[in-house]
């Protein structure tokens, strides 16, 4: 729990000024609330109406205003922090590289990461501020009672020890364990829900509706059992703390009455002490419950720390080790070995391939054969286990990622358009490109006429909430974006996946014309028949074999 918490706190630290300011306003708000109750109590119980009613008239409206200010101040500070963390995390993930990101996307961890960031607001609003205020309040109460009558100081001291130290210590471990259990059950339910949703055809086909419903019900029940434990634990924590505060109040009454009878304490003073305890009761009673929120924030912190600590799988070479710029853009691959983890089987096992300048190569192979792994190696996303790749005579190990990316324009299999205008989407390829360059790229991708025909042209919004481009059109925007880069090599991973054969052939025809003068590497599980290729390679058993003439001509089918 501690490392996660430390990390979460470190994330809040850069804005500690604003956060502390928000907490100070909250402190003022609590003090005014205390003042209101003390003044009202003194007016009725202590017979000090003349002195305290004017104070009440001052404190009550102030308290309303300060409480409003408190809410605004704490939330404003918090939003600053959350915005910072998002940007920081974005930069961190960018440094870790696409492979780490791919892993996050796979398990829908991105969404969980976002809710983890949001969980940090609980750390501030539900833990740091209330606990801080409760501690300050209890401390002030202790000093106040010490000043009133040291004989009574036992009561607030014991109260503080029980609700702020004893109960949280006793409950914390259990709360953390239950929190972890809830998380596990929720993940198990997620697995079942994904099975139920994605496997719907299989379920209906097998008549497995009742079986799957029973599985969902079972994991729902398991989750509810764990959540029920958390709810009981939470309720118990609240009740124990509430009971402790009540016991403290009664003890204060009993002792105080004796002191008054002994003439050692003024009744008015005793009334002040009583109302101070009453005023702080809720703040104190909430302390043990903060444990649950603390556990959640610590869990979120630990997960974010793990993401932040993701090392770049293939760091750039040190400056002095960097080689001179490549001469030309021929690719030479020698004896390439690759695996995902030391205990995993080899994906590529001694792959050799040479791709001369201006070549047009198709790389074929079954899914899982290692095609995309080869792309990751070519893009310097992962290091090879052995062997080397040379670009223009320079080993990729001696090149920086940025230098390499300037020479190979890559369109990944899962590339998608951003929620932005077509222009903004294109400019990601080359931010300095002028209007004419954008249109040249679109024309080369055979999309120029389509975009000219749109009412908003380049300013058309695509993606969510925008115009729906067909699969083929979206692929062409991606191609135009890659073409805008001055890179001499174009690497396309499954560029026609999801397109029907006619659309796929049209896309390939557009590519044939657009990439003149560049090397083109196509990674695909099957050819459309429209590719103009100089070489065709099949990856099997971790090695590349050259298959010419380019695969069976019927592979893509032709219109019958």
């Amino acid at each position: 729990m501690m490392p996660g918490l430390r990390f979460a706190l470190a994330l809040l630290a850069p804005r500690r000024g604003a956060l502390v300011a928000g907490a100070l306003v909250a402190l003022l708000s609590v003090a005014l609330g205390l003042g209101v109750l003390l003044a009202a109590g003194a007016a009725i119980a202590g017979g000090a109406a003349a002195a305290s009613l004017p104070l009440l008239r001052l404190f009550a409206p102030l308290r309303v205003a300060v409480r409003y200010a408190e809410r605004l101040a704490t939330h404003a500070a918090l939003f600053r922090v959350l915005a910072d963390i998002r940007v920081w995390l974005f930069a961190r993930l960018a440094a870790a590289g696409p492979i780490a990101l791919g892993r996050l996307r796979a398990g829908d961890l991105l969404n969980r990461m976002l809710s983890d960031i949001d969980a940090l607001d609980a750390l501030y609003l539900r833990v740091l501020v209330p606990v801080g205020l409760a501690m300050l309040g209890a401390g002030a109460l202790l000093l106040f009672v010490l000043w009133l009558d040291p004989a009574l100081a036992m009561v607030p001291l014991l109260l503080l020890l029980v609700v702020a130290v004893g109960l949280p210590l006793v409950l914390a471990r259990r709360q953390a364990r239950i929190g972890a259990e809830v998380g596990e059950r929720l993940s198990a339910l997620r697995v079942d829900a994904v099975d139920a949703a994605e496997g719907m055809r299989e379920i209906l086909g097998a008549g497995a509706e009742a079986r799957m419903a029973a599985r969902l019900a079972a994991s729902t029940k398991a989750l509810a059992t764990a959540q029920g434990k958390a709810a009981r634990q939470n309720a118990l924590a609240g009740a124990l703390a509430g009971g402790a505060v009540q016991a403290g109040l009664v003890a204060f009454l009993l002792l105080g009455a004796e002191r008054i009878a002994a003439g050692a304490l003024e009744p008015a003073m005793m009334a002040l002490g009583l109302f101070a305890i009453l005023a702080l009761a809720e703040l104190l009673a909430a302390l043990p419950r903060a444990g649950l929120a603390l556990g959640q924030a610590a869990g979120a912190g630990a997960r974010l720390a793990a993401i932040a600590a993701t090392p770049a799988p293939y760091p750039d070479p040190a400056r002095e080790a960097a080689a001179p710029a490549p001469q030309g853009f021929a690719l030479e691959i020698e004896g390439l070995l690759a695996r995902y983890g030391a205990d995993r089987p080899l994906v590529l096992d001694g792959l050799c391939l040479s791709i001369p300048e201006g070549a047009r190569v198709a790389i074929l192979g079954e899914s899982g054969a290692g095609k995309s792994t080869l792309a990751a190696l070519l893009m310097r996303m992962i290091p090879p286990a052995a062997g080397r790749i040379r670009l223009g005579g320079v080993d990729l190990a001696a090149m920086t990622g940025a230098a390499l990316r300037a020479r190979i324009a890559y369109v990944a299999q899962d590339s998608a358009l951003f929620s932005a205008t077509i222009r903004e989407n294109l400019l990601i390829g080359s931010p300095e490109a002028d209007e004419a360059a954008l249109w040249r790229a679109l024309d080369a991708a055979q999309l120029g006429d389509f975009v000219r025909g749109l009412p908003d042209g380049l300013e058309t919004w695509c993606g969510e909430g925008g115009v729906r481009l067909s699969g083929g059109q979206a692929r062409r925007v991606l191609l135009a974006r890659a073409l805008l880069r001055a890179a001499p090599i174009l690497l396309l991973d499954e560029p026609t996946a999801g397109l029907d054969p006619d659309t796929a052939r049209a896309f390939m025809a557009a590519l044939n014309g657009a990439a003149a003068g560049r090397s083109v590497i196509l990674i695909t599980h099957r050819l459309t028949g429209a590719e103009a290729l100089t070489m065709c390679v099949r990856i099997a058993g971790g090695r590349a074999e050259i298959v010419t003439p380019p695969s069976p001509p019927a592979a893509g089918g032709s219109p019958s």
């Binding site: 109750l37 605004l72 590289g97 009664v250 590339s415």
Partner: protein, 582 residues
């Protein structure tokens, strides 16, 4: 006393989030109400216990006021007021216990609501069928079954009980106050009327503001996720840093706009705070002179003050649950749409299929359009398959190939024309009986979380190990078993081992072998395979096809050629039919 200074809040309370005012959405409200019905006993229990705890608070205030009065007078409490002390102890214990029980009952209500809704949503998802589910956002169904349903909890667990308490408890306190002082009761009643009025007024303003800002906020918030998803592209094109800077600017804007909304939204909690402070101060001003001149006993004055402090607690607790209602309403809106999308079961679908061992299929002048008629898929298609005949349907995307298969599985109904299985219209056959006639292999096979053996047995849970082994052998699953760490017992799916596309297809074929249905429906089963793997899969499929009626949709020439009769559809009707000749 539990309630004095509200802690610096917890969840941003009263209308914190820039969500559209949920009350605007009648459908979501109706859905929530209907769903909460089965949880009603638990909700009533929660309300009952919370009410008991609330009444306990009044008793506690009364006893405490008397004891404080005596203590201030220097009485020997333990000797003289033992009965009151014991009573206070009992009240506090009962009250805390009731508080615990109320929370647990509330949780049970939420759990019940979630469990029932999850079962219902899954049932309706299945009734709507995968064809309709595919029209929804990607992953929407899984999110509906998890996060959306989890978001409903607070509605039954917290919001409903808190709403009832906020309406009832202040009245009980008013009665308690009226027994001691008419004017004080009148004052409290005045603030009680003022509070909801103020809440409503500022709430309306906040809702209008948040609706106005909502779209903008949504776009800015969605941008982060969008750019995160596409971070790979940004890295490859050297744009990650620039985009991080742009995101920072957007986040800054987002914050300014959110705060603009919150400034209004927090007004409603300020109104509540104003009433609470007004009540305390008002009672103090009213009571203090009477206590001072002896016209009102000090104990009574203290009781009235403690009552005033407690008076707005139920309303405050209610305001804190706004968050619960808002997120539940948002989830309910999406869930209601999902539940309503499923067509009701057809009671007339009861006909048996004669001679169900061999199936003849006939499509007669079938018309079918999607999106309420806007996108025609089939327009007058006629096609007949004799028992045991294998037909490959080719044609461009959107020509209606998959629609044919959906019709035969009961996932779609023709707008016009008939689809017959052994002469019986398929919509007159009970869906489960219709689907028992066929085995289906699609483009990508879903592998469930479980072992490979369980995944094959999924098609027929009562199959013996030997039968599963035979199906695995027939589908050539055994060929890749040596590559798996634990053979047939290797865990697959979400957290298991991944199979390659060709291997997963062979699992689907093994399932079909095990199901042993007379009709085989194949939807581009080799679309994602390379030529060599395709040949292997087609070989297994040909073995499976023997003796069955087969309808295969495919782009692939090689796959179609392997089957037999070839039919091409375009524009929703048959354009070419080689009649099974070479």
């Amino acid at each position: 006393m539990a309630a004095t200074i509200p802690q610096p809040d917890a969840a941003p309370d009263a209308a914190p989030d820039p969500v559209p005012e949920p009350a605007q959405n009648g459908r979501a409200q109706a859905f929530l109400k209907a769903r909460a019905r089965s949880a009603r006993p638990s909700i009533l229990l929660a309300v009952g216990f919370a009410l008991a705890a609330g009444l306990g608070a009044i008793a506690q205030a009364y006893l405490l006021a008397g004891l404080i009065d005596q203590a201030l007078a220097g009485a020997a409490l333990w000797a003289e007021e033992r009965a009151a002390l014991l009573a206070l102890g009992v009240v506090v214990l009962v009250r805390l216990e009731c508080g615990i029980l109320a929370e647990i009952a509330g949780f049970a209500a939420g759990a019940r609501l979630k469990a029932d809704t999850r079962a219902l949503v899954f049932e309706r998802l299945l009734a709507a069928g995968p064809a309709r589910a595919a029209e929804q956002e990607a992953g929407g169904a899984a999110i509906a079954l998890t996060d959306r349903i989890e978001a409903l909890e607070g509605f039954a667990a917290r919001w409903l009980p808190a709403a009832t308490l906020a309406a009832v408890l202040p009245l009980a306190m008013l009665v308690a106050a009226a027994l001691h002082s008419g004017p004080v009761a009148a004052l409290l009643a005045g603030f009680l009327v003022l509070a909801p009025l103020g809440l409503a007024l500022s709430g309306i303003g906040a809702a209008r503001a948040s609706r106005r800002q909502f779209r903008m906020l949504e776009r800015l918030g969605g941008r982060f996720l969008d750019r995160l998803r596409g971070l790979g592209t940004l890295i490859h094109y050297g744009q990650a840093e620039a985009e991080a800077a742009r995101l920072g600017t957007a986040a800054h804007e987002f914050r300014l706009r959110t705060m603009a909304v919150l400034r209004l939204a927090f007004l409603s909690s300020a109104v509540l705070e104003l009433c609470a402070m007004g009540a305390i101060a008002g009672v103090a001003f009213m009571v203090a002179p009477s206590v001072a001149d002896g016209s009102l006993p000090r104990a009574t004055g203290l009781f009235l003050l403690l009552l005033a402090v407690e008076f707005f607690q139920p309303l405050r607790a209610f305001a804190l649950t706004y968050h619960d209602r808002a997120s539940a309403a948002g989830a309910a809106e999406a869930l209601a749409a999902l539940v309503d999308a499923a067509p009701p079961a057809d009671p007339a679908a009861t006909l048996p299929v004669p001679d169900a061992g061999r199936i003849a299929i006939a499509f007669e002048d079938v018309h079918l359009a999607y999106e309420g008629g806007a996108r025609p898929a089939l327009s007058g298609l006629t096609l007949a398959l004799a028992p045991g005949e294998a037909v490959a349907v080719t044609g461009p995307s959107g020509a209606g190939k998959s629609t044919l298969l959906d019709l035969l599985m009961g996932f779609r109904r023709p707008d016009r024309g008939r689809v017959l299985a052994n002469g019986v219209p398929v919509e007159r056959i009970a869906p489960e009986r219709l689907r028992a006639l066929s085995a289906w292999v699609g483009q990508r096979t879903h592998l469930f979380h479980g072992s490979l053996r369980e995944n094959i047995r999924f098609a027929r849970p009562d199959a013996s190990d030997a039968e599963v082994d035979r199906a695995a052998a027939a589908a050539q699953v055994t060929a890749f078993l040596p590559a798996l760490p634990q053979g047939l017992d290797t865990l697959l799916g979400e957290r298991g081992f991944g199979l390659s596309g060709g291997q997963a297809q062979r699992v689907a074929i093994a399932r079909a072998f095990l199901k042993d249905a007379p009709l085989l429906l194949l939807d581009e089963p080799t679309a994602h395979l390379d030529a060599e793997t395709e040949a292997a899969v087609m070989q297994a499929l040909r073995a499976l096809a023997a003796g069955r009626t087969v309808l295969m949709a495919s782009h692939s020439e090689a796959a179609s050629a392997a089957l037999g009769r070839r039919v091409r559809i375009e524009g929703g009707r048959i354009r070419a039919d080689d009649g099974g000749g070479p």
